[in-house]
């Protein structure tokens, strides 16, 4: 697959939490070429299963999760004049929503812009106050009757933004790269894995509803009952005016998470795989439960050994997120090498780790 094309398709696809359908369709198109079975579950998780090699009966079960959903908006009321009031699904900063273009998913799709009252008509004091959701509304430009015919309370709204390749062709910008970048890396990993021998049963899981509380990961981990589970997500890339230790440079490889939420053996093993194969990587300590699917994976059933790999991404939760394609490729390679290296002994070592 062409990584850039795949990422472009994924970034442009709509898939607000709870309505991941369109994004999942594209994922399925790529995924089904590389796995033996694809299933969708109650919450909307898409699960691809690839058999392990060899005849052994108790093959290790590996679970890789990238969340397919993106943050978005939901209509809370259609005003008499046809303007739409809305709330957020997932953590949008209302200050980034001024003048954004959106798609309203009503009976048919409507294009709209998020309008505030224009600066000319507001006082200096009003302009200094931070923008809050109640100051904003969606304007579809349609007469009220048409809006009311098409849009209902509870319809979801996604942000519009065309995927852009940047000056350096390895950099890309778009909406929903949190976590379509992770999704693309996981798909690339599925493709690459064909070139490796592996004894493990591998589950590629594209989870739903991560942005509203890592919900999909909870139920999907429960049904797969894996020996280990790795979340594939994004983390904060370096930007001006941020602290060095809170952010990671783009293009320097994926970031391996560690801390209470991560099994130390998985972290170490991923780190060793990177070192042995001279793959660039960075590490990120998390002092508590991580804001990723790993949070749910670890505490399902009798406990699952969890790992976390992230891609540095700038401007998280805006429509102009930026990632570096090299990082995705390195991540896919890292996950392939890791998977190939896992065998029965690994699971044994994990079991008697403590």
């Amino acid at each position: 697959m062409q990584l850039k094309d795949c990422l472009q398709e994924l970034s442009n696809a709509r898939g607000v939490s709870g309505n991941e359908g369109e994004a999942q369709e594209i994922i399925e198109k790529y995924l089904k070429q590389h796995v033996h079975e694809v299933k969708k579950d109650v919450l909307g998780n898409l699960v691809g299963y690839k058999k392990g090699g060899g005849r052994s009966r108790n093959k290790p079960r590996l679970f890789f999760a990238a969340h397919a959903d993106e943050i978005g908006l939901m209509v809370t009321r259609v005003e008499e004049e046809g303007f739409l009031r809305f709330t957020t699904i997932g953590g949008f900063d209302p200050r980034t929503l001024w003048g954004q273009e959106v798609t309203v998913h009503g009976k048919n799709r409507l294009w709209g812009v998020i309008g505030p009252r224009p600066p000319h008509l507001t006082t200096t004091r009003e302009r200094k106050k931070e923008t809050r959701l109640e100051h904003l509304f969606i304007d579809t430009g349609l007469p009220p009757e048409e809006v009311k015919n098409s849009v209902n309370t509870g319809d979801h709204v996604s942000i519009n933004r065309d995927f852009t390749q940047m000056a350096n062709r390895r950099y890309a910008s778009g909406k929903a790269l949190d976590n379509r970048a992770g999704v693309a890396a996981l798909l690339l990993f599925a493709e690459e894995l064909a070139r490796f021998k592996h004894v493990s049963e591998v589950y590629f899981v594209f989870t739903a509803q991560e942005e509203v509380g890592a919900r999909g990961a909870l139920t999907s981990t429960c049904s797969v009952e894996p020996d280990l589970g790795i979340a594939v997500d994004v983390c904060h890339g370096n930007m001006p005016r941020t602290r060095q230790d809170e952010t990671f440079e783009l293009g320097k490889g994926p970031v391996l998470g560690h801390g209470p939420n991560i099994h130390p053996y998985i972290f170490k093993r991923l780190q060793n795989t990177a070192e042995e194969n001279r793959l660039p990587y960075m590490t990120e300590p998390h002092a508590g439960p991580t804001p990723t699917d790993a949070r749910s994976i670890q505490i399902t059933g009798e406990g699952v050994a969890s790992g976390l790999v992230s891609l540095p991404l700038r401007y998280m939760h805006t429509s102009v997120e930026v990632v570096n394609l090299d990082d995705l490729e390195v991540m896919a390679k890292l996950l392939s090498l890791f998977t190939a290296s896992v065998d029965k002994k690994t699971v044994e070592e994990l079991r008697c780790y403590y």
Partner: protein, 341 residues
């Protein structure tokens, strides 16, 4: 109480309970007590007789982890920036001795000298992000010999006797519970029960969550340590519990409503045996009871705690009598619920 001293001098910040776990494992092995350690690192001491005897299948649990810090970055000067692991009041951090990483490199938590602070700065409390750990090195490169980002940091505070009947130390929450549990496991004449030494309580009751999924239980009693605030400035109704007034019985906290039957039994056993006890006069905060009570189809749970002043700080204080009575109450409770069917 030798074990308690060993337990509190071990480092065991949530997610890095290795030292405490090793200590308990070797003690269990010495006594030939069978156990297993699960994927998250909880120690489960499953007694096969529990299933044979049938309900109520009882679990006693205490958590091994303590609050602490984690190194997030090493600055050019070799100073370490950190995050808090678990709930710590920023105000207790400054001017502390700490141990960093598995090598237990000593360090101190410093801040800009008061002379150099502007008058406005002095009016504000120091926040964790204003502070750093100084391990006494020339710069970043030298620091890297001793420390990595992600290293856990624990408070340094050896156990010490205080006054006639108190101990000062860190991590009584919940090593006191661990010590009591260990003693009861070695008490030969008790009816059978399961025991769990859990991990990651301080970061969201995460160890107990999976323990509850692993075991088939009817009842769980959590042996904890809770805040005593019988100090100047706390009005009587704000004290939560008092030092020296005996084990603390929770009625409800933010994570659980204690089972009334179990609470009644605890009260009755205490009164019949002249064990002093007090109620926890506060319904905030959470314990492993929250996770265990909601596991599977639900488990009856109760919480008995040793009161401790200055909890979640390097210098907390507990009372020996409280410890003794807490142990006794838990022991008698086990006999009571398992003795009669």
């Amino acid at each position: 109480m030798l074990l308690l001293e060993k337990l509190v001098s071990a480092s065991g910040v949530s997610g890095n309970e290795d030292e405490v776990r090793s200590l308990l494992k070797s003690e269990l092995e010495k006594k030939d007590t069978g156990y297993r350690v699960d994927t998250l690192g909880n120690i489960l001491v499953e007694n096969p007789e529990v299933e044979q005897q049938g309900p109520p299948r009882l679990l006693l649990a205490a958590h091994m982890d303590e609050v602490g810090l984690m190194v997030t970055s090493i600055e050019d000067g070799g100073f370490l920036r950190f995050d808090k692991v678990g709930g710590i009041d920023d105000r207790v951090l400054v001017s502390r001795k700490v141990l960093v990483g598995s090598k237990k490199t000593p360090g101190v938590i410093g801040s800009k000298a008061v002379h150099l602070q502007k008058p406005e700065e002095r009016k504000k409390n120091l926040r964790a992000e204003d502070l750093y750990i100084d391990i006494g090195v020339k710069g970043k490169e030298e620091a890297k010999k001793y420390v990595q980002t992600g290293d856990y940091v624990s408070f340094y505070s050896p156990l010490q006797e205080l006054g006639h009947s108190c101990y000062k130390g860190k991590a009584f929450d919940d090593r006191a519970g661990c010590a009591i549990l260990w003693e009861l496991l070695n008490e030969g004449r008790l009816p059978p029960f399961h025991a769990a030494f859990t991990v990651q309580e301080e970061v969201g009751l995460r160890g107990a969550l999976v323990v509850g999924n692993a075991l088939d239980l009817d009842m769980a009693l959590i042996v904890e340590t809770t805040s005593a605030s019988d100090v100047p400035g706390s009005k009587e109704h704000e004290q939560v519990s008092r030092l020296g007034a005996g084990p603390v019985l929770s009625i409800m906290d933010a994570s659980v409503v204690v089972d009334k039957g179990m609470l009644d039994t605890l009260i009755r056993v205490a009164e019949e045996n002249e064990i002093p006890y007090q109620f926890r006069g506060f319904n905030g905060g959470g314990t492993d009871a929250g996770a265990l009570s909601l596991s599977r189809a639900g488990v009856k749970t109760a919480v008995v705690s040793v009161p401790a002043r200055y909890i979640h700080s390097p210098c907390s204080i507990i009372n020996r009598e409280d410890l003794h009575y807490t142990r006794k109450l838990v022991e008698l409770f086990v006999k009571e619920v398992k003795g009669k069917k």
